[in-house]
Every structure is written in structure tokens, then in C-alpha cells.
Symmetry: D2
Subunit: 158 residues, 4 copies
Amino acid sequence: MSQPDADMAWPDLAGRLVKDEAGLAHVLPVRVYFEDTDFSGLVYHGSYVRWCERGRSDFLRLLGNSHRDLDVGVDAREPAAFVVRRMRLDFLKPARIDDVLGIRTRVKEIAAATLTLDQAVYRDEVCLFEAEVMVVLVGRSGKPQRLGRMIREALART
Amino acid sequence: MSQPDADMAWPDLAGRLVKDEAGLAHVLPVRVYFEDTDFSGLVYHGSYVRWCERGRSDFLRLLGNSHRDLDVGVDAREPAAFVVRRMRLDFLKPARIDDVLGIRTRVKEIAAATLTLDQAVYRDEVCLFEAEVMVVLVGRSGKPQRLGRMIREALART
Amino acid sequence: MSQPDADMAWPDLAGRLVKDEAGLAHVLPVRVYFEDTDFSGLVYHGSYVRWCERGRSDFLRLLGNSHRDLDVGVDAREPAAFVVRRMRLDFLKPARIDDVLGIRTRVKEIAAATLTLDQAVYRDEVCLFEAEVMVVLVGRSGKPQRLGRMIREALART
Amino acid sequence: MSQPDADMAWPDLAGRLVKDEAGLAHVLPVRVYFEDTDFSGLVYHGSYVRWCERGRSDFLRLLGNSHRDLDVGVDAREPAAFVVRRMRLDFLKPARIDDVLGIRTRVKEIAAATLTLDQAVYRDEVCLFEAEVMVVLVGRSGKPQRLGRMIREALART
């Protein structure tokens, strides 16, 4: 069975950039599967951490930065990857098997070497989870990379 | 931010049922994220097992059977959940971060109490992984449930 | 092959309670396996969240409270499980495949319905990760349970 | 808090090599945590796959081969890592939260480039899960490495 052009075939796979009164946001839909739940019958708390990473990855992807490009080191940049430095997580309400959730990601602050994002998980209109996440772009040498320009330009293009 | 009607808003979230020369199949697109890889630089072998479960869940969902319906016990059936009895897994080629993969699922055999599925993971036209998976539907009492009729009727409706 | 009495056979499996100048702490050793790493070559950030849960579980286990006892509802208490309400996570230094790490857990504050723990991950003398975690004990009805007495008595017994 | 010499401090962390009537085996104890379970109330089927990997890693570790040594390329060998080629998994009985399980690993067959292991998960005397796993040692160039001598010498030393 062929998958002729995967990105074309599944246009929403990386979610969508949306603009609302608060500015630019990214929304990624996530289904709750067996792997995301635990014996309490609800979603395992660590699953939200994985989902937020997916949201960040696809937000940056739609802004033009894939992990693989970073890893290879495009545009004369040293190969690099995003690394999480700090998270603040608030678990507000439980999610359950089969739920369709929306992972919402916004830029909160761009500093020279750090990017801080606001993330939240919604089921319909209800917010189940909130996170503030600070990431840095670290080169293979271990040194943080300047990411301000890359992200600022990407945001300006949207 | 609202998610007014999640299933409507993301029409492909559960993948698609497709018909080809070999009959009915289900295809679920999956993106490779950080969580799916390991320090070898490639996808962790256990990730294929999680992806296959997503494929099975969404295949059965599009046939009309959600985990939650089963868990509550619709249609006078005892509450039940699918349980994996046996897997045969062949890892053919590696997948990498950012890849878009297609999880393909087909019914191989329906017996009174067991359902055997053929599953495979593709990147474009290339098959990376194949699995044969036997599942049973187990009621809360621990006894296997007859699933032949439910699945047969669902397949007949497609 | 027999596992005659698992808890006896592996005396350190739940880690150890230790007393130092700062009071009572629990230490759980954790090995870094393939499943804990990602394609960056380092440990995936979500793995620390899983390890902290193991540390909390074994700390409470050595204080006399297993998840299964809580789930069944011993001592005339309603069946209950611990639920994470809030986490603050600081990722200080990376860990790598094969590392032996120590997950250290201390009680920071006991309120009527919430328990706040300080957790940290060490490799030898070096702190790699710090967390502050607030959990509540939630009964099957969805209502928070009083946990002050249970934990206080357990701490007093040590 | 110090972890002066982690391997010394936790002598059983990598499990134990044992000899019985069937020859040499490795046993690794594993506790069932929240992360290993799913909403069915039992252990998630993918957890057994993760546990088997831990068992294989610690078996090879006690035979003298760490992932990190392989990754760096000791003894003039090309840097390499173990890759799973094929698994056959039988899920016999469920495991539950708080269970202490034993992951048993034995060498089934050593070929020039492949190693086949028999693995099983026990709770006390009861076998819950069986697996046959074929792995290959793959160098950074992508080519399979000869592993017969390394493993044979290690087995001969025991």
C-alpha cells in the first residue's frame, strides 16, 4: 500500500496555526489511547508532558524548523536540538480513553538563548492542563545557540 | 480557545478506511516525535508496538466500536476491553525523527473469540515493520467475549 | 524458574529510607535504559517524570502504603489513588544510557488534603534534576481524601 | 546527598546471573508502577517489551558489554548498538500495579551476526509472558557486526 506524499495526504497532521485575540497559537489534536492511561482509569500524568513536546515540535515545524534540519545543521548552523530547561505543570481536570484533546501552544517570551512557551490541553472548551515550558537550542558542542532571530523571523513571516 | 466539535474539526484524526485489491484496510498517519526515538538516533523498537495499538483502536473506532463504549458495556453487553494475546513482530528498516509513517491494519482472521490482524508501518512506499497481532475481547469478569458478530457486522456495513 | 518470595529476594527493590542532617529521605536507584533516551543521545525529559513517580510510589510503599491497598480501600477508607496536581521541574544536567541514578524524595509539606514532595535525581554527587511535586489522594467518588494522619503516622513510625 | 559508588551501593541493580538445570539465565526484578499500567486496570501490553529490553541490557552488562562501551567502540571495534530484528510475544496472564516480577533471559541461539534470546516474565512461580527475541549488533555504518566471539567468550567466562 502506498503513502505517496505523506505530508500532502494528511494536511492536519502537524496541527494548525491559528490567530485569535491573544495572538498566534498552534493547536495540535491528540487522541487518548491505551498507552496514555493508567490503572486509575484516567490519563497518566506523564502523558501530558509527551503531548506538550509534540505540540512544541509541530509548532516549530509549521514555523519552518524541523528537528532533522536542526540535527543536520542547515544554513551553516551547528547541528543542534531543543532541550527542556524548566517546566511548570498544573493538572486541572482528568482526561479519559478515547478523548480528543487539543494541545495549544503560544510563545510567551523569546530571549537570546531561551524560548518560553505557554501550553495548555483542552477538551472542547474545558482546560484540563496548563504548562509553562522553557527550552534552549543546544549545539552538538553542548553550547546553547542563539535562537532569537530564527524564531522571530518565523513569527514575523506568519 | 475553543475546540467546538473535535471529531468534526479534525476529520482524519482516526485515519481512514481504504479499499484496495486486497480488501478493506485502515491507515493511520503517525509522526515520529522525540518520545519515539532512542539514543541510537533511530526509532525505539517499542514505539512500533504503541503505534500498532493506535492503529487497531482507530480501525475498530471507524468500524463503530470505541474503547469507552466497550468499557461501559453498550447494547446489553458486559463491560469489556481488548486484550493482546500474541504478537509476531518483524523490524525491517529503521524510522527517524520527523518521519511521517502510515500504520496499515487489516483483518486477517475472525474466530469466535479472537481477532487476528495484519499490521504494517510504511514510510511512503517502503515497508519498515510488519506485525501479526491476535487480540481477544475480555469482559470485566475475566471471560473472553464473542466478538465475531460485532466485527462481522461492522465489516459487512463498510 | 521460581521467584519464591520476590520482596525478600530483592531487598533493595523499593530503594531505602535514609536519615541525614536534613531529615528523612528516600533513595531509589534507577538505571538508564534504551526506553529512557531519545535521538539527541541523552535522556528524554519525560523520563524524569516517570522516575519521580517511581520514587514517590516506593517512598510511600516503605512508609506502609501500597497503591493496591489504597485501591482496595483498606482500613474502612474509600478506595483511592494518588493524583498529581502540580509539578515544577528543573533540568540541570543531562543523563546518559547506562547511567546509575539516585531518585531522592523528601516530604516538603503536609496539608490536610495535599502532600508536597521535594524530588531530585543524582548521578554520584551531582544533581541533574530537581522537582517539587504536589499530590492529592483522590477517592473513587472523585473527592480528595484527608491524608495528613496517614502520612504523619507513617513518618512518626520511622 | 551522595551516591558514592552507585554500582557498589546497589548490588542487585542489574539483576543476577543464575545457573539451573537448563543452563545459564539472567533474572532482573521489576516493580509494576503507574507508568506500566493502562485504564483496563492491568499492565499495558507494551510494558513487557520495555521490560524485556531492560533484561537483555542487564544480561549483556553482567556478561561485560555495556551499551556505552559498544557506542564508543571499545577494543578497536566500530561503534555499535543492538537492534531488534524479530520478536514473538505471548501474553499468558495479566500483571497488576505493585507486582514484583522477574524478567528471565536465556541465550537460545548464537549465529554469526544474530543473537536469539528466550525471555519470560514471572510473578513468583507463575509465568505471565514469554518472548523469543532476535537481535543484531549494528555498527554506525549500518552494517551488522559479528557478535559470536564476544558473546561466546563472555558465556565461557561465566
